[in-house]
């Protein structure tokens, strides 16, 4: 039953919302409003966060497929991204975003089939992390990479693996918003999907061979696949009440 599916989705999303960070809004009129929200729904095939870190210096590569992430994009051009570890502890990053509309991607949603996806602006969103957030990300990668290196017997004594921040070049930092008919999660429902990619490479310093500050390379790619909603759009007239309720629940959880 389509309605049952919608209610099931809401329950899953509710459980996920409890783990979202409490971003405290200051009491000032200049604080922006959420325009788009995105999240990963672990009940849906394909959703999740995947990290691939090529460490270099003889260390094995690190791939993490734990999949929880969420994001709020504000109407003043700022965003906040939360990535969660296996203990659901979030790492918070921020920066700027811009939506470049895709003329081919606007779909009309049929409210009669239980679709909850909202029509609206879709396309490619460009993202740029600020310097502080990039530094935080690099620090986390430093720790993860060193720990991975130390799992190799010959490198168990390593004490240094540090990204040389100024050497890092971001190759890709964007996400694609779409509204699709999802055949992998029957019954077929239109849903708003998002794929976000951050890809970078640069230099790192290490003591893999016993001498400090040897220079090597690294590359990192993270992909977030999930759902999104336009927090400032409303369902078209004639939309089923169960669909409206589902949308309202999503907005309550992710758009505040």
């Amino acid at each position: 039953m389509k309605k049952t599916t919608i209610l099931t989705m809401v329950v899953v999303c509710g459980a996920l919302a409890l783990a979202l960070p409490d971003w405290k809004k200051p009491l000032n009129a200049a604080y922006p409003t959420v325009k788009f929200a995105l999240w990963t729904d672990l009940a849906r095939k394909g959703d999740g966060v995947t990290d691939s870190l090529t460490i270099g210096s003889g260390c094995p590569a690190l791939t993490t497929k734990f999949g929880v992430g969420s994001m709020r994009l504000y109407d003043n051009g700022s965003f906040v991204l939360a990535r969660y570890d296996s203990n659901l502890v979030p790492s918070i990053y921020s920066g700027s975003w811009y939506l470049q509309d895709n003329a081919k991607s606007t779909k009309k949603v049929n409210p009669d089939d239980g679709s909850w996806a909202l029509p609206g602006s879709v396309g490619t969103i460009y993202l740029i992390l600020n310097t502080v957030s990039l530094g935080d990300l690099f620090s986390e990668l430093d720790a993860s990479a060193l720990a991975k290196c130390q799992t190799k017997a010959s490198l168990a004594g390593m004490t240094q693996w540090d990204i040389m921040d100024p050497s890092v070049l971001v190759k890709k930092s964007s996400m694609v918003f779409k509204t699709i008919k999802d055949k992998r999660n029957p019954p077929s429902l239109f849903r708003n999907t998002v794929t976000a990619t951050l890809q970078m490479s640069g230099k790192q310093q290490n003591d893999a061979k016993g001498t400090l500050d040897a220079v090597g390379g690294f590359s990192f790619k993270t992909t977030i696949k999930g759902q999104w909603i336009d927090c400032q759009s409303t369902p078209p007239s004639g939309t089923d009440s169960a669909v409206i309720n589902a949308i309202d629940n999503i907005k309550t959880q992710f758009c505040s």
Partner: protein, 202 residues
């Protein structure tokens, strides 16, 4: 060739540079005092390629920050740097421009990007690019999409034999314009800029 400063909004950038005076409290480690700079700006959609030249000063400080200042004393770029030696014949100074992009707690209207941040650099390029594109498209506009701007290269390679250095900064990104249709700027395009600075590094 007419020489013009890198920045057309020099007054605004200089006043902002004063707010970052703490950078100049650090001690210079490397300096290119009179770098011959060439900036090439390409805006897709039919604009003529714009090439400008200037004499700039590039300074690398012991607090791991750097500045590129043009002949009008405006900060073109600022950020952090680190050095990698390639044997004894040359070394490379990797340079990463500061990115402002504040979180939602910052009132963006009250706190604009400081001079020399990537946002400021792209904003200045947009002013110059828009003016250049108006030669072919009078009354039309182009907007450079800040978050799409990626630094493709940003480093200074110095040959130790003669201390000659070549600094290259390359940034590419998206832009939107209304060159061929009046009204809201919607047509997507791209832009790229290459800044090359040559000189002696002390």
């Amino acid at each position: 060739m007419k020489t013009i400063p890198m920045l057309t909004a020099a007054v605004m950038s200089v006043s902002m540079a004063l707010a970052t005076s703490s950078v100049f409290a650090a001690t210079p480690v490397h300096t290119m005092a009179t770098g011959a700079a060439t900036q090439t700006l390409v805006v897709s959609g039919g604009c003529k390629t714009l090439k400008t030249t200037d004499t700039v000063t590039v300074t690398f400080f012991d607090d791991d920050t750097y500045t590129i200042v043009d002949s009008s004393a405006a900060t073109v770029l600022q950020g952090t740097w680190s050095r990698v030696d390639s044997g004894t014949s040359k070394y490379t100074l990797y340079m990463s421009p500061a990115v402002f992009a504040p979180d939602p707690n910052t009132d963006r209207n009250a706190t604009p990007p400081a001079a020399g941040t990537l946002e400021d650099f792209v904003s200045q390029l947009q002013i110059v690019g828009d003016s250049n594109c108006e030669v072919k498209f009078p009354g039309r506009d182009v907007n450079f999409v800040q978050p799409s701007s990626l630094v493709k290269k940003s480093s200074l390679v110095v040959t130790t034999k003669n201390n000659e250095g070549i600094l290259t900064v390359q940034v590419k990104g998206k832009q939107t314009n209304n060159f061929y249709k009046d009204g809201t700027i919607v047509k997507p395009g791209s832009y790229s800029v290459t800044l090359t600075i040559k000189g002696t590094v002390t």
